[in-house]
């Protein structure tokens, strides 16, 4: 599974807790209230564990976590 699919599955299953949720790749996860502060760190922990990418503390910013697509493009640098 590619990164994008993994992230979408994780957000639906573990954060939204609804496998059938609608999740647009460009949807603003933060303003839509999908990612709160706990969920952001959950996601960081998941990325560390499943993708073996350690997101540096200073990179936990809006630009990188805005949407699925922005997160995937941010992760491309690793």
């Amino acid at each position: 599974m590619d990164r994008k699919a993994l992230l979408i599955d994780y957000i639906k299953d573990e954060i939204m807790r609804n496998k059938n949720a609608k999740l647009d790749e460009n949807e603003d996860l933060l303003s839509a209230g999908i990612l709160d502060s706990l969920a952001i760190l959950q996601l960081v922990a998941y990325i560390d564990k499943e993708l073996a990418i350690e997101v540096p503390d200073e990179d936990v910013i809006y630009d990188n976590f805005k949407s699925i697509n922005s997160l995937v493009s941010y992760l491309q640098r690793f």
């Binding site: 573990e14 954060i15 807790r17 933060l30 709160d36 502060s37 706990l38 969920a39 952001i40 760190l41 959950q42 960081v44 922990a45 560390d48 564990k49 503390d57 200073e58 936990v60 910013i61 809006y62 630009d63 976590f65």
Partner: protein
């Protein structure tokens, strides 16, 4: 002349009585009420097991069938659950991977009886009016028996009066914590849905969305569950003393908690705990020692209270034994007790502050490969024999990086708690 008078027969006083009796130092516990009596503080950390073993009380804990606590679970407001299990982090000198949840009226009575069996003289229903002093040296206590007052001399006086802080008040050395002014509203319930079988007997902590707000769920026995809402006192004040309304208002804000409480029935009156955290400016003086909550109280988020009381008793007993050997009961001779206990409780306190400073960080750390075991070590009460606690430094560093970075997404989750 008595050797040691211990004021208060809670876990701190009874454990100390037991240690001293085992060491052949005669001692007496003066307890204000007649046990059993209700008390808050119903969950423990695993380090307590060491003290129970020391004083030969572990068999009683097992025999009495207290609920075994194998772990802890946190529930975020978004419905996510994070759990830890004590089995992941074995502790030296402890052969069991669980601690206990207790009905304190039962535990405290059993511990008092245990001290008595080991030789401690126990007098219940005796109110100590004050500790007697000759200049700054404690010389005994004044007790009220019926309408009479009687002075009892002693070589050593120990204040184990808990949150009553008899000596702290008498000597005016009690200092309110500048940061934590939390307030708890709690009661016992039946019919609480404790969740999946695997974690049903864990302590469950539910995060609330209000400032420093959380709820405990502690199994007392197979039917009864203790549930308490803790929040900043300012949050409580908004409720205008409507305990039931306050409690219910917060319970429904966390979906997991609302579910757990759906069919719950309250079986006793709501109780409240205020004036939350404090410390005495000193824990020892000439011929006296203050232990447990009588010396210091920190926020109970990590179930540290009984462990702090038991280790206070352990370390006080060591110091008192040395004092009787050398004949030196001076503040200076007793000071190593204070240094040790202060260091341990200081680690709890720092952990608590960092936790409240940035709540998401704690759940992040317990999920991280790098820090998980270090966090477990703290959660299991291993705070006394360590000079350095790298995980606290790592938490601090993370918080600083959030504070300093302009755009960090967790910036708005930072509370105004000082961590310096």
């Amino acid at each position: 002349m008595n050797d040691v008078i211990i004021i208060g027969g809670g876990p701190a006083g009874s454990a100390l009585g037991a240690y001293l009796s085992k060491a052949g130092i005669s001692n007496m516990i003066l307890e204000k009420v007649i046990h059993p009596r209700p008390h808050v503080g119903e969950s423990m950390v695993t380090s307590s097991t060491r003290v129970f073993k020391d004083i030969g009380f572990l068999e009683t804990m097992e025999r009495e069938g207290f609920i075994r606590k194998y772990g802890a679970s946190w529930h975020a407001p978004n419905g996510h659950e994070f759990a830890i299990e004590f089995a992941e982090f074995p502790q030296e000198g402890i052969d069991q991977d669980y601690t206990y949840h207790v009905d304190r009226s039962k535990l405290d009575l059993l511990m008092l009886k245990h001290a008595e069996k080991l030789g401690t003289k126990v007098y219940q229903g005796v109110t100590v009016k004050q500790v007697l002093f000759d200049n700054d040296r404690a010389t005994g206590v004044r007790v009220a028996i019926g309408d009479q007052e009687v002075d009892l001399p002693a070589k050593m006086v120990v204040d184990a009066t808990g949150r009553q802080t008899l000596l702290g008040n008498q000597l005016k050395i009690k200092v309110k914590d500048p940061i934590f002014d939390q307030y708890a509203v709690h009661a016992w319930f039946t019919g609480v849905d404790r969740g999946s079988e695997h974690t049903a007997d864990f302590i469950h902590i539910y995060f609330l969305k209000v400032e420093r707000g959380w709820v405990w769920q502690i199994p007392i026995n197979h039917e009864i569950t203790s549930v308490g809402v803790v929040a900043d006192k300012a949050v409580y004040r908004e409720s205008h003393n409507d305990l039931e309304g306050y409690f219910n208002t917060h319970v429904i804000t966390n979906p997991d908690l609302a579910h757990a409480m759906q069919n719950a029935t309250r079986i006793n009156e709501f109780k409240t705990e205020g004036d939350y955290s404090y410390s005495l400016s000193k824990f020892v003086g000439n011929s006296f020692i203050c232990i447990g909550d009588a010396a210091r109280f920190v926020d109970p988020i990590f179930s540290s209270g009984v462990s702090v009381a038991l280790y206070g008793a352990k370390y006080a007993a060591e110091r008192i034994r040395i004092a009787f050997e050398t004949g030196d009961f001076s503040e200076e001779a007793l000071k190593p007790f204070e240094t040790r206990v202060r260091a341990g409780v200081g680690i709890w306190y720092e952990f608590i502050r960092l936790y409240y400073k940035l709540l998401p960080l704690f759940t992040h750390f317990i999920q991280s490969k790098e820090h998980r075991l270090e966090v477990l070590r703290l959660l299991q009460g291993e705070v006394y024999d360590r000079r350095e606690v790298p995980v606290l430094d790592a938490m601090r560093k993370y918080i600083e990086s959030v504070e300093q970075s302009e755009k960090h997404l967790l910036k708005k989750s930072l509370t105004n708690i000082s961590i310096d």
